[in-house]
Amino acid sequence: MATRKTAKKPNVSAEELLGYYRDMLLIRRFEEKAGQLYGMGLIGGFCHLYIGQEAVVVGLEAATKEGDKRITSYRDHGHMLACGMDPNGVMAELTGREGGYSKGKGGSMHMFSKEKHFYGGHGIVGAQVPLGAGLAFSDKYKGNDNVSFAYFGDGAANQGQVYETFNMAALWDLPVIFVIENNQYAMGTAQKRSTSTPDLYTRGEAFGIKGQTVDGMDVLAVKEASEKAVAHCRAGKGPYILEVKTYRYRGHSMSDPAKYRTREEVQKMRSERDPIEHIREMLLTGKHASEDELKAIDKEIKGIVIDSAEFAKASPEPALEELWTDIYAEAN
């Protein structure tokens, strides 16, 4: 990955910078707490943490408006927090409780919010890509200017249905942004061992889809790229591909011993490229915020996360009758 360029004067206000810092920190602390609750046996099954990738979703969301839709894979906690879903509801879903977004019936990988236009949380690698194009199809059919974000990883980028979708999205000019979160490892397989050509943003060329790559450890760079892609889609010019180069600090899931990469590689990323530290530094050196102000934000976030964990522990398990509900919708 390229080293970070000397930050040109960012065209953002102190308030926006603080907002990104806060949103990324919330994801980081939330995920750390989720990891802790998993270790305590309060969260079961699979649990895929977003730590290290925070700038991707926070940068992308910075260019959205009400009505825009998003859909992603099973590494979805960050996306939910970034689009404004309630940390309590997300954490309680992780613990499988009544207060969770899916009443405890979905879990870490299957959460949704109609209100926030978050369409999951999908456990089958790549399946969210045609679904995301379908969301865009529905907006185009209705004639509005909403945009859909279909997030997937470098691993999913090798699924056949992704290319079936690229073809249809380009053929029908669907307003969908394909966000490839390239964290360089598909579970334990490094990208160079799974992928014949390294530049995933060029994978749409055969279908006439424009793409670009962006540094996913720099929230401002991601935001700028997102704005460009959104403008393209809103103008009715069809789909767009953003390959966002990022890095996950933790294992693929909680049960990943991560023997496919060195501790030094992870440590180097954490100490040199951390997206939150980057913004923190920018806030301090630009005198947009004082140490004390940042400390106050840290404290506020810590409180939100502790509250979410408390809520998720206190919320009761779903009523046994819930086993038999939500299988079929009733006709209106």
């Binding site: 399946a127 379908g134 991560a258 046994l320």
Partner: protein, 456 residues
């Protein structure tokens, strides 16, 4: 306050593990995210990160200890100014934070009904309604056209549905009436367009997806089951996929193994889906209209051989057939023949021939396989005391197997003979004309089965 560090669960199934190695010692400063220990499970060695910052106060479990239970305290982390001995002394006994065990018995899906099952004999249309002769193909097209006229969110997508007018001409004329925005030709890409259609249903539209045949829907079955059928449940009722997947199902003629398969039992197994498999034109029309209006994903299994078959269809402004209501085609007293889809052809032919031999067969068309109208079947079996099922699909795990099991559980005392399932043979469909004929279920086999259960 001192924080206990607990033995982590590193996989969904881990109950205990070995504390292989401490990477820190007492008195060390601990930062959040720092790797403090290595834990060994039966599958792998994992690094264990600190969550909180502080000072390592006491290591409670020495490295090399085997069989350390998940959630057991393994160390104590101190905040600034705290004393280690105090922390160990004040460390609370490990609390069980796992949720309380669920009571063993979950609610039953179907409470035992003391009431005897009653066949639903309400006619599908009022007596005296004007009728017209129509093919199944025309009835299906009329159903789609009528529903598209009344709901602009309904659209049809599939291979060759628009300009070609349908590979089997089911969508003939629809492009002219509704235009290319709503009658959409897709590339040959079943997995992809099934996913796009499902996503559009999440987004508020009501897609009808035509698979040229259901054989090709196997490419799309992940989207049908994992995305369309399960999302309502996984989202706690927030969103689902109101849509129809329809197309030709089952054997056509002389098209070999990959193009000849009945998927009735496959889809009927999936909670979250509804499944219809009509035989007649009136059922094709009435059920398809109900399917398009249904707020759930519906699998609508048609049959190439039946497309051109003519039936009487009621002339009504808005004729629908409800799901979960079987149709008794022929009343009888000696045996119940249960079938659906093209199987009805063999069932009805057999009943005609059996009548010549003095055997009175009651013939029931299930029409929908999810839900299934158990009551009509049970009421009939309680009357005739014998049952034969007929379907074209494979015999293992068939709809007939399920019907038999239900009858055994709910009407065992009424049975005078074991239920016989007539099904397709347990072989891939051969191409040769003589072998293909052998592989399919036949009228003669149905007659033979009836004679067996009636001991004739």
């Amino acid at each position: 306050m001192a924080t206990e560090i607990l033995m982590p669960a590193l996989s969904p199934t881990m109950e205990e593990g070995t504390l292989a190695k401490w990477l820190v010692k007492e008195g060390d400063t601990i930062e959040s995210g720092m790797i403090i220990a290595e834990i060994e499970t039966d599958k792998a060695t994992m690094e264990f990160e600190a969550v909180d910052e502080g000072t390592m106060g006491a290591i409670l479990v020495a490295e090399g200890t085997e069989g350390v239970k998940v959630n057991a305290p393994i160390a104590v982390l101190l905040e600034e100014g705290e004393d280690a001995s105090a922390a160990v002394a004040s460390a609370p006994a490990p609390a069980t934070e796992a949720p309380a065990e669920a009571p063993a018995a979950a609610p039953k899906s179907a409470p035992a009904a003391p009431i005897a099952p009653q066949a639903n004999l309400t006619p599908d249309w009022p007596e005296g309604t004007e009728m017209k002769t129509q093919t199944v193909r025309e009835a299906l097209r009329d159903a789609m056209a009528e529903e598209m006229r009344s709901d602009e969110n309904v659209f049809l997508m599939g291979e060759e549905v628009a300009e070609y007018q349908g590979a089997y001409k089911v969508s003939q004329g629809l492009l002219d009436e509704f235009g290319s925005k709503r009658i959409i030709d897709t590339p040959i890409t079943e997995h992809g367009f099934a996913g796009v259609a499902t996503g559009s249903a999440f987004g508020g539209l009501r897609p009808i997806v035509e698979f040229m045949t259901f054989n090709f829907a196997m490419q799309a079955i992940d989207q049908i089951i994992n995305s369309a059928a399960k999302t309502l449940y996984m989202s706690g009722g927030q969103m689902g996929a109101p849509m129809v997947f329809r197309g030709a199902n089952g054997a056509a003629a002389r098209v070999g193994a990959q193009h000849s398969q009945d998927y009735a039992a496959w889809y009927a197994q999936i909670p979250g889906l509804k499944v219809a498999m009509p035989y007649s034109a009136s059922d094709a029309k009435g059920l398809l209209k109900s399917a398009i209006r249904d707020p759930n994903p519906v699998i609508f299994l048609e049959n190439e051989i039946l497309y051109g078959r003519q039936f009487e269809v009621p002339v009504m402004d808005d004729f629908t057939v409800p799901f979960g209501k079987a149709r008794i085609w022929r009343e009888g007293t000696d045996v119940t023949i249960v079938s659906f889809g093209i199987g009805m052809q063999y069932a009805l032919e057999a009943a005609d021939k059996l009548a010549e031999d003095g055997i009175s067969a009651e013939v029931i068309d299930l029409r929908t396989l999810r839900p299934i109208d158990y009551d009509t079947v049970l009421a009939s079996v309680m009357k005739t005391n014998r049952c034969v099922t007929v379907e074209e699909g494979y015999p293992v795990g068939s709809i007939g197997n399920h019907i038999s099991a239900t009858i055994m559980q709910k009407a065992f005392d009424y049975l005078d003979a074991p239920v016989i399932n007539c099904a397709g043979k347990d072989v891939p469909m051969p191409y040769a004309a003589n072998l293909e004929k052998l592989a399919l279920v036949t009228t003669d086999e149905v007659i033979e089965a009836v004679k067996q259960v009636t001991y004739r």
